[in-house]
């Protein structure tokens, strides 16, 4: 349980987080049942699996783990009439820096996750499912295991669920401190008991060759919870929340230099970045101004506070108008953030004010990626540690004036060349920080009086 109990902000729309921080709420099944829990499961089990898939497609919900891929489309990749066993995995390996939402669902509302998961398994005909919980949530794993036990006792999991003939086993599988296990194929390799090296795609698309080389669906915790609510209100109703192509609500996690950091469940695109920071999070720390925002977890490209962003807006008459907006006016949805050159990602918004050193910030991020690279493929394995060494050397006073270009060059040769998206994840921060705050990188070089890249300037140690 968190030490800090908060009341939701008035602009929030608590659907998935309805029971988080709720007075008197407990994680046991009786509390959940008393609140109307597992009614959606009963409703879903009376539907045809294909109906459920169509509702999810109609809802337009996009994955909440970071990639934002339409969930209905993902489920649709399973071959009709598939004869191999189908598996579903809940990705509860929340580890994208800046993100802290799945933690609360796991620790405070596990039955919501289970209900959404059972409905999803029924929809895709998965008979065996795993919840991959990061190793650093030992209490969370126990809570979910207890919830599974209770659900089994009530016949919601196990053989012949509620007399429908649908069998399903769900087990918790704990991780052990590797960010790459959040990558769906790395996760699959980890469950198989191997080093979590992501797989090459083609041919190992999980919907065809996933866990144990069988069709597998991997979904984020929040996404699976969304499924329950989609069944409750219907896909079309869900699609009315948020904005076209960016439907539903999502939990934004704000951290860094704001007065009121924390989690906020908002309609997708329902707030701008400015409203989020100033209205909802109480603004920047006193005496400081906004300098930079990473809007979607540390992998997302950084946005500079004083930059102008070109966007195209569709007018009611069908024409598009190009306009320039400031950072405050960027809408917090998938498409808008992509348009301004970043991404909505995992919803982790990291805010930095003018007291922050951007080289220091990038170095902290580079250390994360250098540490977390699995090491399977050449560009990321060698490049992530190289970028880390360069920014560390810059901070230690050994910088040269071509280090900014070197960082960009290294990052450019990683992104797009790797087996998995970790390549982009470790390259985008460097590319964007150097591009947007180049003067700070150059300042580090000249601070030391180093203006050339001759070997005698080589940094030792």
């Amino acid at each position: 349980m968190p030490a800090i109990v908060r009341t939701p902000h008035p602009r929030e729309r608590r659907i998935v987080f309805k029971n988080v921080d709720r007075e008197g709420w407990t994680t046991d099944i009786d509390c959940y049942l008393k609140d109307g829990g597992y009614e959606e499961l009963k409703k879903a089990l009376k539907m045809q699996p294909l109906e459920i898939v169509n509702e999810v497609k109609a809802s337009g919900v996009r994955g909440r783990g970071g990639a934002g891929f339409p969930t209905g489309a993902k489920w649709g990749f399973i071959r009709p009439g598939e004869t191999k066993p189908i598996y579903l995995i809940c990705n509860a390996d929340e580890a994208e820096p800046g993100t802290f939402k799945d933690r609360y669902i796991i620790h405070q509302d596990p039955h919501q996750l289970l209900e959404g998961m059972i409905i999803s398994c029924y929809a895709v005909n998965a008979r065996l499912a795993y919840i991959y919980i990061r190793g650093e949530f030992p209490l969370g794993a126990k809570i979910v295991e207890q919830a599974i036990k209770e659900a089994k006792e009530h016949g919601f999991i196990g053989k012949n669920i509620l007399g429908t003939g649908f069998d399903l086993e769900i087990y918790v599988h704990r991780g052990a401190g590797a960010y790459i296990c959040g990558e769906e194929t790395g996760l699959i390799e980890s469950i198989e008991g191997k080093r979590p090296y992501p797989r090459i795609k083609p041919p190992y698309f999980p919907a065809a060759l996933g866990l144990y080389m069988s069709p597998t669906i991997v979904n984020n915790v929040e996404t699976l919870c969304d499924v329950k609510h989609i069944i409750k209100m219907g896909g079309a109703e869900y699609a009315k929340i948020g904005r076209p192509n960016n439907t539903g609500t999502r939990i934004l996690c704000v951290s860094g230099d704001v007065q009121k950091p924390g989690y906020y469940e908002l309609e997708v695109g329902g707030v701008t970045l400015g409203e989020l920071i100033y209205d909802i999070c109480g603004g920047i720390r006193p005496g400081h101004k906004l300098k930079a925002v990473i809007p979607g977890g540390s992998s997302a490209k950084v946005l500079r506070a004083d930059e102008r962003y070109k966007i195209k807006t569709k007018q009611p008459d069908g024409t598009t108008v190009e306009e320039e907006i400031g950072i405050d006016d960027i809408r917090m949805d998938f498409d808008s953030l992509a348009t301004v050159g970043s991404m909505a990602g995992s919803g982790g918004v990291i805010v930095m004010d003018d007291s922050r050193d951007m080289v220091w910030a990038l170095n902290n991020i580079n250390q994360f990626y250098g540490h977390e690279s699995c090491g399977q493929c050449t560009p990321c394995r060698e490049g992530s540690l190289w970028m880390q060494k360069i920014t560390t050397r810059l901070l230690d006073g050994g910088g040269a004036d071509d280090d900014a270009d070197m960082l960009k060059s290294v990052a450019d040769r990683i992104a797009g060349r790797t087996i998995c998206a970790f390549g982009e994840a470790c390259a985008w921060p460097t590319q964007s920080f150097v591009a947007k705050f180049r003067d700070e990188f150059l300042a580090y070089a000249s601070k030391n009086g180093n203006t050339s890249s001759k070997p005698e300037n080589k940094h030792q140690g």
């Binding site: 090459i200 050449t378 797009g416």
Partner: protein, 556 residues
């Protein structure tokens, strides 16, 4: 009769080609003359796609609204090029696929990968065995940028790890391609290697409780693209660019793995497998691979010798050959025995049979040799040419069946002259004391042993690396050996020695070129009809009607 494999149209660098369905993209490029550099890909192993060196541009036909490919002005599909480069090693070609193997993007991808591989690579070239056959060196020259921009400290890893009795590992040189791990698991069925740690600190290792001691461990050294895995036997011995490479075959068992013999100035340095999908794929076993040091031994017999009363004395070839022929003329056919070898070439066996026929003896056989087989390449028959010996009439379908009877004959004194060809009779059931009482012991061999010590005429001959000839492997495949080095001292080729003896015995004319030896065989042996030494080729020819000489009894 199965349906023919369909041909698919693929555009490579602007030119349309046809390839059979199921062709890997990277292989299609090679076939079109556009080699794509690669490290982790190996045609005989699974493809993990981790080195990223084989990135190229790929595209598929642009589909029209009728779901058919849009055609361009040349009547061929218009290609939609994918913005991201794709690896070419893990996908098969598809109809209408487009590939660009040398665009600016592809070149930059290669520059990137080469740079990344070199930033933590130790500057070991001056002391690294792989130099001269190192793909890191070669691709760096062809596809790299030249010059280092790396200013940081390199990652340090263990430098001489004894992974096993025959393999030494340098972890810093390793580029983590995982070929060795996959080979050990998928081919050698001994999953003993793996990666430890994470990220840039990942290193290759075996668990401390296990060693890389498989009989196929040295194949990992062959497939290692760099000098990380090295042969402890060959380490620091010779620069590979000094080695002459001779195509030959292994003679340590009946499989006859195809090999390359690496030699320099008449010294053998190593053997490596040569690919032959009908025999050994791309592999050979450690036992056969390392079984060549005896050729370099300083104990090699180099001078013909004859013994009068006690001590042997060196003599000329003419004298030795005469002495051998004279000795044989002294005895009746039933008093003579000829023990040939399953290690002799067909050409040598041809002359051995001629010798048998010249002295008209009924006492002849070869020495069988068996050992445990594995389920890969090592055959339980440890003679490389038992099939040849059978075909050429030196033994029945039960090789060695007459040996005991001949040994008894020597013991009891009925057999008074023995010709031992490439075999130590004391290892074949003959007693040394019995050999000493023979009237004539004519021995042709390469190294001293208990039989050579008792020879009345000693004829130093050639090892497998010093002769041309042919052998038939256990599956009935006719393959040839080539000469890598000269025989030491005055040692001569076996077939020529026997030809000379026979000429002395019979007075008949004979042949002087080995091609003519084969021609004679081809004229007289139906299975060799139409063949010649050159027509056998580097990969051999499967013979019709040659029965596999599997042992009658189960192997040990």
């Amino acid at each position: 009769m199965s349906d023919p494999v369909p041909l698919l149209n693929v555009q490579i660098d602007g030119v349309w080609h046809k390839f059979p369905k199921g062709t890997r993209v990277i292989e299609a490029c090679s076939q079109a003359g556009k080699f794509v550099p690669r490290y982790c890909y190996h045609p005989k192993l699974s493809s993990p796609g981790n080195c990223r060196m084989c990135l190229i541009e790929m595209g598929m036909p642009r589909m029209g609204p009728d779901r058919k490919p849009e055609l361009g002005p040349d009547g061929k599909p218009v290609i939609n090029w994918m913005p991201r480069p794709q690896i070419s090693c893990a996908q098969d070609i598809a109809e209408g696929m487009g590939l660009r193997t040398d665009s600016p993007l592809v070149q930059d991808c290669r520059h990137g990968v080469m740079e990344f591989l070199l930033i933590n690579h130790p500057l070991d070239c001056p002391i690294c065995d792989q130099a001269g056959e190192c793909e890191l060196q070669e691709f760096s020259v062809q596809y790299g940028t030249g010059g280092s921009r790396f200013r940081e400290e390199k990652v340090k890893k263990p430098k001489h790890v004894h992974l096993g009795p025959r393999v030494t590992l340098d972890d810093e040189r390793c580029i983590l391609c995982s070929r060795c791990i996959r080979f050990m698991k998928e081919v050698a069925h001994d999953d003993v290697l793996g990666f430890a740690s994470r990220g840039s600190h990942t290193y290759l290792t075996a668990h401390p409780g296990r060693v890389l001691d498989s009989n196929y461990s040295l194949n990992t050294v062959d497939i290692c693209p760099v000098g990380a895995l090295t042969s402890s036997d060959f380490r620091f011995k010779m620069r590979v660019w000094f080695l002459k490479e001779t195509k030959s075959i292994c003679t340590s068992c009946a499989t006859g793995c195809n090999t390359l013999i690496g030699s320099r100035q008449n010294v053998l340095y190593r053997q490596t497998p040569r690919e032959n999908d009908n025999v050994n794929s791309a592999w050979m076993c450690d036992y056969g691979r390392l079984n060549f040091h005896f050729v370099n031994s300083t104990d090699r017999l180099t001078e013909p010798q004859i013994r009068h009363l006690s001590d042997p004395e060196t003599t000329s070839w003419t004298a030795a050959v005469s002495r051998a022929a004279e000795d044989l003329k002294r005895f009746q056919p039933t008093e003579i025995a000829v023990i040939a070898s399953g290690r002799m070439t067909n050409e040598e066996l041809w002359f051995a049979k001629k010798l048998v026929d010249s002295v008209k003896t009924p006492n002849y056989d070869i020495v069988p040799r068996t050992g445990p087989a594995d389920d890969l390449l090592l055959n339980s028959i440890r003679n490389p040419n038992t099939n040849g010996a059978q075909l050429l009439g030196l033994c029945s379908d039960q090789p060695g069946a007459k040996l005991q009877q001949i040994a008894d004959g020597v013991s009891q004194g009925h057999i008074r002259a023995v010709v031992a060809l490439q075999e130590d009779l004391t290892e074949a059931g003959f007693k040394a004391a019995d050999l000493e009482r023979l009237g004539a012991l004519i021995v042709m061999d390469i190294l001293p042993n208990e039989t050579t010590k008792r020879a009345t005429t000693l004829l130093p001959s050639a090892s497998f690396a010093e002769k041309r000839g042919s052998m038939i492997n256990v599956k009935g495949r006719l393959q040839r050996l080539n000469r890598a080095i000269q025989s030491p001292g005055n040692a001569r080729e076996d077939w020529e020695i026997m030809r000379d003896i026979i000429q002395q015995l019979t007075g008949a004319n004979s042949v002087y070129l080995i091609e003519d030896v084969f021609k004679q065989m081809a004229e007289n042996i139906p299975q060799f009809q139409g063949l010649s030494l050159s027509r056998i080729g580097d990969l051999g020819v499967k013979l019709e009607g040659v029965v596999s000489a599997e042992p009658v009894t189960a192997s040990a």
